[in-house]
């Protein structure tokens, strides 16, 4: 029985996508478990009135609507035409008119599960279990959620006496508890499966987080969670849970249009197109045409047209002819993150600088612990498991000792302050003694964020800087390091090396921001990318690695040196890392780059201010001080407006302002003879980019169901996540302030447009042998356009083959 119960739980929660904790926020597609279905069936779209407003504003045009209809309704070719008031109307004309002027079908209601008593109680106990108070942890916590809750629930004053009595004799294990609850609720196998699925969807935040935690930590599982939920439901005598919106969509048959509905639509449309009453035969013809595009398909057509407008504009913006930079003095490799696009564009104003895009972990997946760190971070894509631990070694032991002592003193003060805050009577004494000083610090931070930032920086300067090296040579064998270097070269098409190559990861800084890690590097597991950049540079500079690369036909000149760096996406400065390792021969080139970068950073900060709320009039210093302002809910805008991924050489896009909306991965087919590099790009960076894109999409379409709602009412549950208010479900997705300003959306909810320049048969073969790609492209979660080479026409991917793209330039 126990195994059957666990299997039923696993089956009911198969579509649940794990939710990472806030401390290492990973963007996920909240509906990723439904990628085997078509996007238009599984997902929700904006309201029809919103699309019509975009049409009125010119954001969607007749041309795009017609193009999408031609693609989506192939029967239109033979659908005939009608004459109304002397004008000849094709079937496409009529369907476009129906979209724009016709009767508007009501949008499907978005109904999150109404919270009930069980949700409230379960959220309370799960939060207490997962985020224990340091002084008062939940009793019996070491025995697991079921046992710990069972021991406490019988004393819960929020439960009526009868329920408490019923909870007094619960089975010992969660498996038995869940089986017992299902029996008491009178559910047989079939009904139990359905109820488990519905119960698991009531609080998607907690359930997603528990799924992550079960796999990564192992101190809780979904069987225990569901056992608690259903046992409480039985003990309280509450009705079985109602289906949520998502499951209602599955359970309810899609509304079907019948002839009467089509006739009504035809009459309404004809009346809007002609002042003269239409003949009955004409109305019947219109009805037959409208029946080809029923109202339930309208939202998907609008959505596709909305995206087509952007895709067409993007393709038109690409240069017809392209020239490669000759003999660059500096190459800067940056993350594919759209925020890098702005920096790359401004850097390339200098003709000696060439930029490339690569996944921000630089192909070096590591678990990283900095020098004397108490913990480590998994600096790698969420698609991988950490297998290699990298740390730092000090190159100067005397200096390391000084720094260690300084940290000990600082830690002693911090620990003392923390203890005073958490021990029961101590906060009163703390407020009386040091409260005044805290008050002054609070005033400074509130009234002058830049001064507070300067004080913080000065404090850090009192700690001696430490010169270290990452221990990549001990974490990976020589063969592994050479393989990683070769993979990187082939993936980004690094077919030549400038004297100075800079590997720049990225990270963000902001104060009082629970979503700080959402602004860091997704390819580095929601962490800043400095560690990976340092590890990558160490590998590329390793003479033994270079020897092996040379034998494989990938020589790196002895005059080339790789430097690690990190792009701060709030200040837009690129900080050079490990300066003590840079040889004198390259010091001048690094100084020149730093000067060029400072200019680019200033230009980019000003450019970004155009979109940042309240920033357009702010001076540079104030814009950068947003990072230190604890009242600032818009320190930067992250990946807002992301819309496309381009895989190809930089010549495709150099000189074009892509408005920081495009993920860019460099790729040259000639460096990838067997297509392995392209397959790696399409199955990893592309997948991660679509996760990010769909997180922004759904956080925009429904800001409370799929997004985290407004930051202003967030309460943190440790570093796990946030609640909106004091109880309820853990919020998933991005906060409102990541995608909107008030009622105005900053993000445009579009699926990812992917452009690839590579042999089409290679792209096709890669998709054909990877289920994850077949699902994404065939089920329309991502749109793909590709061309063989710069001289070929663009082709759209479809399940039946490549289609010549009439809208592309």
């Amino acid at each position: 029985m126990s195994l059957e119960v666990r299997a039923a739980v696993a089956k009911a929660t198969r579509a649940v996508i794990p939710i990472w904790p806030l401390s290492s926020f990973i963007a996920v597609n909240p509906l990723g478990g439904r990628e085997s279905e078509d996007f238009s069936v599984a997902a929700v779209m904006r309201s029809l009135s919103a699309f019509r407003a975009d049409y009125s504003a010119g954001r969607i045009t007749d041309v795009e609507l017609a193009a999408v209809l031609t693609n989506r309704v192939p029967e239109l070719d033979d659908a005939g035409r009608v004459t109304l008031n002397g004008r000849d109307w094709t079937a496409i004309d009529l369907l476009v008119a129906d979209l724009v002027r016709g009767e508007q079908a009501p949008s499907a209601p978005v109904l999150p599960a109404a919270p009930d008593r069980v949700d409230e109680l379960v959220a309370k106990w799960v939060a207490a279990y997962l985020d224990p108070h340091p002084a008062w942890p939940m009793p019996n916590r070491g025995l697991g959620l079921w046992a710990a809750w069972g021991a406490m629930a019988r004393h819960d004053p929020q439960l009526p006496a009868k329920a408490r009595r019923q909870l007094a004799n619960l089975p010992a294990s969660a498996d038995e508890g869940l089986a017992n609850a299902l029996t008491k609720l009178g559910l047989d196998d079939g009904a139990a499966d359905q109820i488990l699925k519905i119960e698991a969807r009531r609080m998607p935040g907690w359930v997603g987080y528990i799924k992550w935690r079960a796999a990564q930590v192992g101190d809780i599982d979904l069987t225990s969670y569901l056992a608690v939920c259903l046992t409480l439901r039985w003990a309280l005598g509450l009705p079985l849970p109602e289906p949520t919106t998502e499951s209602k969509t599955e359970l309810a048959a899609k509304p079907q249009t019948d002839l009467a509905t089509d006739a009504t639509r035809a009459a309404t449309l004809a009346a809007s197109l002609s002042p003269e009453p239409a003949a009955s035969a004409t109305l019947a013809s219109i009805a037959r045409i409208l029946a080809l595009h029923p109202p339930q398909d309208h939202a998907a057509t609008w959505q596709a047209a909305y995206e087509e407008h952007y895709r067409r504009r993007l393709l038109s913006s690409l240069p017809v002819t392209s020239e490669r930079v000759t003999d660059p003095k500096v190459q800067v490799v940056m993350c594919i993150d759209p925020r890098s696009e702005g920096m790359r564009r401004h850097l390339e104003v200098d003709p000696d600088i060439e930029t490339l895009g690569f996944a921000g972990f630089f192909g070096v997946p590591i678990r990283f612990a900095s020098y004397l760190a108490r913990g480590s971070v998994d600096a790698l894509p969420a698609l991988l498991s950490p297998r290699h631990a990298v740390t730092e070694t000090a190159t100067d032991t005397v200096q390391a000792k000084l720094r260690t002592n300084a940290f000990r003193v600082r830690d002693a003060f911090t620990a003392g302050g923390h203890a005073s805050e958490t021990l029961p009577p101590a906060p009163f004494a703390l407020a009386e003694t040091v409260g005044w000083f805290s008050g002054i610090a609070t005033l400074v931070r509130t009234l002058s964020p830049s001064l507070a930032g300067a004080i913080d920086a000065a404090q850090h300067r009192t700690t001696p800087l430490l010169k270290t090296e990452v221990t990549v040579a001990t974490a990976f064998t020589l063969e592994e390091r050479a393989a990683m270097a070769e993979t990187g070269i082939r993936m980004m098409g690094l077919d030549r090396c400038a004297p100075l190559v800079i590997l720049s990861g990225h990270g963000s800084t902001s104060a009082n921001n629970l979503y700080q890690s959402a602004l860091d590097c997704g390819a580095c597991g929601g962490n800043p990318g400095a560690a990976n950049a340092r590890a990558g540079a160490a590998i590329f500079n390793d003479p033994n690695v270079r020897d092996l690369l040379k034998k494989r036909g990938l020589p790196i000149p002895a005059t080339t040196y790789f430097v690690a760096a990190e792009h701060n996406t709030v200040s837009d400065h690129i900080e050079i890392l490990d300066p003590h390792l840079i040889p004198e021969s390259h010091a001048a080139a690094v100084r020149e780059f730093t000067a060029a970068q400072n200019t680019a950073a200033d230009l980019l900060v000003v450019e970004r201010a155009g979109l940042l709320p309240g920033a357009s009039e702010q001076p540079l210093a104030r814009l950068r001080a947003r990072a230190d302002d604890w009242a600032e809910v818009y320190p930067e805008l992250g990946l807002v407006r992301n819309a496309a991924l381009i895989i190809g050489p930089r010549e495709m896009t150099r000189g074009v302002d892509l408005e920081r909306r495009v993920f860019m991965h460099s790729y040259r087919p000639e460096c990838d003879p067997d297509g392995t590099a392209l397959e790696t790009i399409m199955t990893a960076p592309l997948v991660v980019a679509q996760w990010i894109n769909h997180q922004y999409y759904f956080s925009t379409v429904d800001k409370n169901l799929w997004g985290a709602g407004t930051k202003t009412i967030h309460n943190a549950i440790g570093s796990i996540g946030v609640l909106a208010g004091q109880t309820g479900d853990l919020k998933i997705g991005l906060p409102l302030q990541s995608v909107s300003v008030g009622n105005r959306d900053l993000h445009e909810a579009m699926r990812l447009t992917v452009l690839i320049e590579a042999p089409l048969e290679r792209v096709w073969a890669i998709i054909a042998r990877n289920l994850v790609l077949r699902q994404l492209f065939d089920n329309h979660w991502v749109m793909l356009t590709a061309r063989n080479d710069p001289n070929s026409d663009w082709q759209r991917y479809s399940t039946s083959g490549w289609i010549s793209d009439p809208l592309a330039p």
């Binding site: 126990s2 195994l3 059957e4 666990r6 299997a7 039923a8 696993a10 089956k11 198969r14 079960a214 796999a215 599982d221 996944a359 192909g363 997946p365 894509p381 969420a382 698609l383 991988l384 498991s385 993979t487 392995t676 397959e679 790696t680 199955t683 990893a684 960076p685 997948v687 890669i766 054909a768 042998r769 990877n770 289920l771 994850v772 077949r774």
Partner: protein, 105 residues
């Protein structure tokens, strides 16, 4: 098969992201261990599957192999069948013989 002990071998091929609950079922069934082979390639009901992907372990196929006494196997087989009812994945069950039965519970 002189001196060998009869056991049941269960092989399950499933997507990497769906493998954790199967591993949990295997250990809950009392199996003392399992072998996990990631990056399995082949052709199946859902079409061709590429082998190991360099930077993606979640979307490749994983083969889980376990051997356990027949009296423990039936519950595991039944549970895995439940899990595979309406999703991708296949299970193969076969008799096998081992030389050191104490290793397999």
């Amino acid at each position: 098969m002189d001196g060998l002990t009869k056991m049941t071998k269960i092989e399950i091929v499933i997507s990497g992201r769906d493998a954790p609950p199967i591993r949990e079922l295997i250990t809950s069934a009392g199996a003392t261990g399992y072998t996990s082979v990631s990056g399995v390639s082949g052709l199946g009901h859902h079409g061709p599957h590429s082998g190991a992907l360099l930077f993606n372990e979640s979307d490749t196929l994983t083969m889980l192999i376990t051997v356990l006494p027949p009296e423990k196997a039936s519950a595991l087989i039944s549970a895995v069948r439940t899990l595979l009812d309406d999703g991708p994945g296949v299970m193969f069950v076969a008799d096998t013989y081992v030389s050191r039965p104490e290793y397999f519970g």
